[in-house]
Point group: C2
Chain length 449, copies 2
């Protein structure tokens, strides 16, 4: 009996239409990355588990896909010890950041720093599949490593601005700084409570000021500590005003003031560069808190309800674990699947993505084929995407093929046309039809443009 | 101690230069595939082992990379039975053909046939790594399924012709037909010796006619059988003459005559379509003999010593194993790594692939930065790839950066230029330098074009 074919859960096939739409996203980010001088790299799907393990927390280690050693993996195993580490030495890439860090360390002598790279490749996670969460998905990462300049942060915001302008998605860029969060924890006397404080602040919109204060005290902050933070919770005004207000509160924290310096410098650049996208300080922004050391970014779509569609930040010691200390970097990752959902939801994909084929030549028989073959070659040479229906089937079937592939032009060139040395082309949308001398490729192209 | 980073053997990192070169190959094949109306699809890296096993022979099954089941894979294993099948249900894609067959069967109701697809994705094989053989490599496959017309074969030859013309590689397309090989075996009375006969014919150039005849007899053919085949071994003339000669010998084999009909039809189309690439009947062409049922193709580079750089053929029942019988298809696969080696060897990569960045703005300090930021935005908006050096390092260091990245233009805009409202741009190759009014983006672009 024949097998019923299927694919592993959480994975996807992409057909013509989805590929065209996904390529539209990838091509857009790629063109913007290139316009800013970022170099594309690719790393292998498989990395040594020694590279991957311990980089994503215990939960991440569990979600790694492990590859069984090739040959007879179980030949010399010690049954009294855990088997997995004995039979698996490699795993599938879990994200693009750790492979990037590994790449930079491994190739440090070939690279010129600051090294600006982008990478668009799939990653794999053995997560429980659910709506919008897959076991294989693409990441689009762009990072600059080897400079502490806030110009790198600016450039990422310029990239975000340009990408979403090209995709016609209204977004808000939320900006935070890990050093400012450290400063908050320091000035209230609980330097080890950064995460608790940030998580509480994050709930301000939902649960209100009093509840946030109550939560902070539940987490062990004193009343006095909470009163120190209260002015931060009620910050208002534009970004400059917020920075100024925080300066007066945070003067006692050297780290906090450094963070405010960075924010101020960055917003100065943003103003000078003429960024159109709205940018906003958001102290509750806490993504990757154990990881980032400076700026933290998150991008929200304004007209479609969905999680962040792009995010990232600065990490001061990403490559340290691979033996290269003091390499500061900053990067963001574009979420292709969520961006896809936003474009679908807002119906913002360009309309002409559907078919790549411009004209179908119907198959009217052997003689007619020999007549049109040179023309088909000439049209393709001129950059027109052309198909010939391969079989001399009923015209209805050939029409249906053009229709299902959304091919806009059809040529039915039969024996009459061959006798007259002409070619008929029909615009399948308007119904309009025209005849051309067989060799007048130029006029045909103009008419189909 | 820090880990020394490395990647699994047989896998590769691709840096900026290699990526640009590889993308040049991928972009070229993709543009040609699209010009002929082929739709891009992508399938997941992981397939169920039930999809993959048994499709590549015993050797292939051994070379599959297996993925350890997630969760505790060893929780309920029966130690008395082989462990691998109990702990691995998925494997990494071994080629693009089997996933394509699986895709066609799984999505048959969404597709319009004939279905023309291309697919450019990596595949993984646990082969012993050696020069030119990797455990992860890209395949570029293009197939048409659902039509028996020789126009499909023609279209693949048109694609081959166009791809290698664009890449500027001189090639020879060798063409054979499995039905003709069957015919040969039939007319000499040994229909089960197709492989032996073909393997012997393949040695003609190397070992000569007598040795080939001797080998055939070693394999069990009678003297009389060999004498029937002898005129085939000494075939000469052009493709039409070869076909005509074979017709007179092969009249008693229906399958053989059908194969000759197909070859004759195909060469008729090739002539009509004006294919420039040399095409040649080669009866020793035996790739995938257990697999192909009609045309067999192989492409050789004429000016560089290397194995075939593209190949494929027609298979009449690829999807049968997944429950969809009578789907005839034909396709070829372009070997990106070998094509890369040929382009490198012949020094045929375009010279301008190296840097994507057109101009670097040196970092002369805070004031100057604020002065150039709007200009940088305008240049990028106009499609120019621009970088600003992020740190105000010594000019020597900034120069070196431009040099190592092969950036052709440099702007050093200091306080004098700011005072005058101008921008200086230097052509780093010619040494020529020019000043522009700060806002005259158009002239800058023209000068750098």
């Amino acid at each position: 009996m024949a097998q019923k074919p299927s694919i592993p859960k959480g994975t996807r096939d992409f057909g013509q239409q989805e590929m065209a739409e996904r390529n539209y996203i990838f091509d857009t980010v790629r063109s913007v990355f290139r316009a800013c001088g970022y170099a594309q790299i690719e790393t292998p799907a498989q990395e040594n588990l020694s590279t991957l393990l311990g980089k994503y927390g215990d939960e991440g280690d569990k979600l790694l896909f492990r590859i069984l050693n090739s040959g007879d993996a179980f030949a010399n195993v010690d049954q009294s010890k855990p088997l997995t580490p004995q039979v698996c030495e490699k795993g599938l890439r879990y994200d693009l950041t750790v492979p990037f860090a590994r790449y930079v360390v491994q190739h440090q002598n070939e690279l010129s720093f600051p090294f600006k790279r982008f990478q668009i490749q799939p990653v794999w996670r053995a997560d429980r599949p659910q709506k919008g969460r897959y076991r294989e998905f693409y990441q689009c990462d762009v990072d600059a490593i080897g400079s502490k300049s806030q110009l790198c942060e600016l450039e990422l915001i310029q990239i975000i601005d340009k990408v979403f302008a090209k995709l016609d998605i209204n977004v808000l860029v939320k900006i935070n700084n890990r050093k400012v969060l450290t400063g908050l924890a320091e000035i209230c006397g609980f330097p080890d409570k950064v995460v608790d404080i940030t998580v509480a602040i994050d709930k301000l919109d939902k649960i209100g000021l009093d509840a946030v204060k109550a939560e902070m005290m539940e987490k062990g902050l004193t009343e006095q500590a909470v009163s120190v933070l209260e002015p931060i919770l009620t910050l208002s005004g534009n970004n400059d005003e917020k920075i100024a207000a925080m300066r007066s509160i945070m003067a006692s924290s050297e780290t906090g003031m450094k963070g405010l310096d960075e924010l101020e410098e960055l917003f100065g650049y943003i103003k000078a560069a003429g960024i159109n996208t709205a940018t906003e300080i958001d102290l509750s922004l806490a993504r990757g808190l154990n990881y980032y050391t400076g700026a933290i970014f998150e991008v929200k779509a304004l007209d479609w309800q969905i999680g962040s569609i792009c995010g990232g930040g600065r990490y001061d010691n990403l490559t340290g674990i691979f033996g290269l200390p003091d390499m500061s970097g900053v990067g963001v990752s574009f979420g292709a699947d969520r961006i896809y959902d936003v474009l679908k939801g807002l119906d913002k994909f360009p309309k002409d993505l559907r078919s790549s084929t411009r004209i179908l030549f119907a198959n009217m028989g052997q003689n007619e084929l020999l007549y049109i073959l040179p023309l088909v070659s000439s049209l393709r040479d001129a950059g027109v995407s052309v198909e010939i229906y391969p079989d001399s089937s009923k015209l209805k079937k050939q029409f249906d093929y053009a229709d299902r592939k959304a091919i806009p032009f059809l040529s039915i060139t039969g024996e009459n046309e061959v006798a007259q040395g002409i070619v008929n082309i029909k615009n399948l949308e308007s119904g309009e039809q025209r005849s051309f001398p067989k060799d007048d490729v130029k006029s045909m192209i103009e008419w189909m443009a």
